[in-house]
């Protein structure tokens, strides 16, 4: 079964942090810079992004607080808050996100990340195994969904959570559906995420591997009794230039910087997550590294040496080229059924401005063009 493009409701996401830092920009100064955080978010809003992801790490600023602050300094930008089940009880977490949704007037979505490595989980006191974590996430998401959608009081008696008489007073803004995003590329992740996710998030693999993941998610969604499959999001690190040549020159400069002294701080941080000399534990990073092993350049302009340089750590594959080339590459993913694209740069603030001015309009224009000129409704 193949999935044809769905041109409706294509969503373009960015990502923010609370300080000026990336693989090529060693961080200096306080970890939370309120002015920078607000500027970074506004750049996304002004650039026409639909939402921004706010990440999660055991040593980072806490995301719901960042989201609350950003909501006060923007008007319409959506907020996708990364959240790990297991560190907060789900009944409280449901109220946190409902409250945030109320005060931001319906701008919140939650990105569920079940955990990448045992070491990172243990920093916050979570000693479950990988598959147990996903079983817990399954319960957790059932509790969240019901807490948001149906008035209590209710009881729950599961393997990981138990409570009696939970009756929250607060619900999402105007009783709307609060979206769950989900990440994870292991078999355990597919089974749980395909059941609960509104949007399933993938890192930027080549088209063929992405197609395989979409098929896995779709199959698991059917097994879970869903009639739809989750929307699919793919994340990239576009490196733009005025021309393709300029972009490639920039890309090689970025790779040199990551491999050089400036990247050392970032590599040390990744080493804290993935202990030195060991392969990453998470399937998503393993898949990125496997793609990188096959070659440096994939499809139209997907470039993976940056992934190797950071040991597979997270969203790290680049789309390199002029805005026209990168827009065309993004559309290639839309054609295989991708609904949402998350892009963030190596020069985080400057790139967000650049994407907003030069890349997003091209993507939206081309999506609209293809939607209008599509021959007829195809069978899905």
């Amino acid at each position: 079964m193949t999935y044809s493009a769905n041109y409706e409701a294509i969503e373009l996401l960015g990502m923010i942090g609370t300080a000026d830092a990336s693989e090529v920009r060693p961080h200096q100064g306080p970890l939370i810079d309120p002015d920078y955080t607000a500027r970074f978010a506004k750049a996304h809003e002004e650039g026409g992004f639909d939402r921004v992801l706010i990440g999660y790490g055991s040593g980072w600023s806490e995301g719901t607080q960042v989201a609350a602050y950003v909501a006060q300094h923007t008007e319409r930008l959506g907020l996708l808050v990364a959240h790990r089940p297991g560190v907060v009880h789900p009944t409280l977490a449901s109220r946190t996100f409902s409250t945030l949704d109320q005060f931001s007037r319906g701008r919140v979505a939650v990105h569920i990340i079940t955990g990448a490595t045992d070491a990172e989980q243990r920093r916050e006191g979570d000693y479950l195994t990988h598959d147990e974590r996903y079983a817990r996430t399954d319960e957790y998401l059932q509790i969240l969904r019901e807490a948001w959608d149906e008035p209590g009081p209710r009881d729950f008696d599961g393997a990981y959570y138990r409570f009696e008489g939970f009756a929250p007073q607060v619900f999402p803004y105007q009783d709307r559906h609060l979206d769950l995003f989900f990440g994870g590329s292991s078999p355990a992740a597919y089974a749980v995420g395909s059941k609960h996710a509104d949007t399933y998030m993938l890192w930027g693999e080549p088209l063929q591997e992405t197609g395989e993941q979409i098929a896995s998610v779709a199959a698991k969604a059917r097994e879970a009794g869903r009639t739809d499959r989750p929307r699919i999001s793919v994340s990239f690190r576009p490196i733009l230039g005025r021309t393709d040549e300029e972009a490639w020159e920039r890309a090689h400069g970025i790779l040199d910087t990551i491999n050089g002294e400036a990247g050392a701080a970032f590599r040390a941080k990744v080493a804290r997550l993935h202990p030195q000399g060991q392969a990453p534990e998470n399937a998503g990073s393993q898949r990125l590294l496997a793609a990188a092993e096959k070659g440096d350049l994939h499809d139209r302009c997907l470039w993976t040496p940056t992934t190797r340089a950071v040991g597979g750590g997270g969203n790290s594959t680049a789309l390199v080229g002029s805005p026209e080339t990168v827009a065309a590459a993004i559309l290639d993913y839309v054609e295989i059924g991708v609904n949402t694209v998350l892009i963030r740069g190596y020069e985080p603030l400057q790139d967000a401005v650049d994407y907003g001015a030069n890349l997003l309009p091209l993507v939206r224009q081309e999506v609209a063009h293809r939607a209008a000129t599509r021959p007829s409704l195809e069978a899905v």
């Binding site: 055991s58 806490e62 609350a68 602050y69 409280l92 409902s98 109320q102 729950f156 929250p168 607060v170």
Partner: protein
């Protein structure tokens, strides 16, 4: 110069929903969670009202506002951010119940809030006195166990706030390996602590920067201060003390007492309309018992501490009032200051109107306090 550690501090309270406390509202349904006598009006989360109430506190001269917590309430962290954004210098006292957030992420959430609003955040630790409300959020520990967990929780929170290198912790309730936060508050986030049982005092004495009591008669507070000081001494701690009261003020004493009677009648009517009980207020087993015991001895204690309402509420929440003119209520508050209390949490029955009124009380207490021995520094 007065030692900044003993500067008087006034704390009010936030809310997100308007209430109608007029007599005409008494027959209507609904229950406001932040006053015993009001009827809720409009949405539960009213952003503009929350901002207006916070600004009214700031204008009245309050230092801080409490953001309360229950199993049904909205999330306090988000309301804290709203409150701090809506004001310029007002601080928050954000209530937190240990047991539902991992201590590492709770610590980072407070630290993140504090980083966006430097120096304006304090943590109020409430361990929970009501088993049923704990179970609504999935907590089945006994009260004694809960206090042991609070001890362990606060130990990890402090390490997460202070440790410059990764740390391990293995306590009775929490175990972490290699925990470390890059967000570390400086200056430190103060910890306020409530709880009246012996377990509470044992744990609070170890961790509290401020120890909070409900408004008992003066003699009770004198005893409690002595108990907490004795328990804190082995840790070389000398917490400040907070007392919570619900002042009822008017231009004349007669008017104030008439208003107190009206509050009592309205609370009784609301209790009757809700099946004989006022629900939705935090119970605290020992603290509630002490308030009810005081109420059973007499309706009025000391000069003007009015405890009749505790009989209607069952001692849930802080429910005792100083009743009188602005000058009399200020004098009543200063009697607590004389005992060593330097934080006064005052909230009314009509949140917005009372916050505005209290400005005059605050001015009178601050003026009177300059002559008090406890604050002579």
């Amino acid at each position: 110069m007065t030692d900044p550690a003993v500067t008087l501090e006034f704390i009010g309270i936030t809310a997100t929903q308007r209430v109608d406390t007029s007599s005409g509202a008494a027959g209507r349904g609904g229950m406001a969670t932040h006053t015993e006598i009001g009827v809720p009006v409009g949405p539960l989360v009213n952003k503009e009202f929350a901002a207006e109430l916070a600004q009214a506190h700031e204008a009245a001269g309050f230092d801080r506002v409490l953001i309360a917590h229950s199993s049904a309430s909205i999330d306090g962290f988000v309301l804290a951010d709203q409150t701090l954004e809506a004001t310029d210098r007002l601080k928050v006292l954000l209530a937190h119940r240990p047991g539902f957030w991992a201590p590492t992420i709770a610590a980072r959430a407070y630290a993140t809030l504090d980083a966006f609003h430097p120096g304006r955040v304090a943590m109020h630790v409430i361990t929970g006195g009501d088993d049923a409300d704990q179970q609504r959020d999935g907590d089945y520990l006994t009260k004694e166990e809960r206090y042991r967990r609070t001890d362990d929780f606060l130990t990890v929170v402090r390490k997460e706030w202070e440790s410059e290198t990764p740390f391990d912790h293995e306590g009775e309730f929490y175990k972490v390996t290699g925990a470390w936060s890059s967000v570390r508050p400086d200056p430190k986030i103060p910890i306020y602590f409530g709880g009246a049982s012996e377990h509470a005092i044992r744990v609070g004495a170890k961790h509290a920067d401020a120890y909070a009591f409900w408004g008992e008669p003066l003699e009770g507070i004198r005893q409690r201060i002595a108990e907490v000081r004795a328990a804190a001494a082995p840790y070389a701690r000398d917490p400040r003390f907070s007392v919570s009261l619900r002042p009822i003020v008017a231009e004349t004493e007669e008017e104030a007492w008439a208003h107190a009677e009206a509050v009592l009648a309205a609370a009784r009517a609301r209790a009757a309309a809700n099946g004989g009980a006022l629900s939705g207020f935090g119970k605290n087993a020992v603290g509630s018992h002490r308030l009810v015991a005081a109420a059973e001895r007499a309706d009025v204690h000391d000069k003007r501490l009015w405890t009749a309402l505790a009989k209607v509420t069952g001692g849930a929440g802080n429910s005792t009032s100083l009743v009188g003119t602005y000058e009399q209520v200020a004098e009543g508050l200063l009697d607590y200051v004389d005992l060593g209390v330097t934080t006064l949490l005052i909230r009314g029955f009509d949140p917005l109107e009372d916050a505005k009124k209290y400005g005059r009380v605050i001015d009178l207490v601050r003026a009177g306090a300059t002559q008090r021995p406890a604050l002579a520094g």
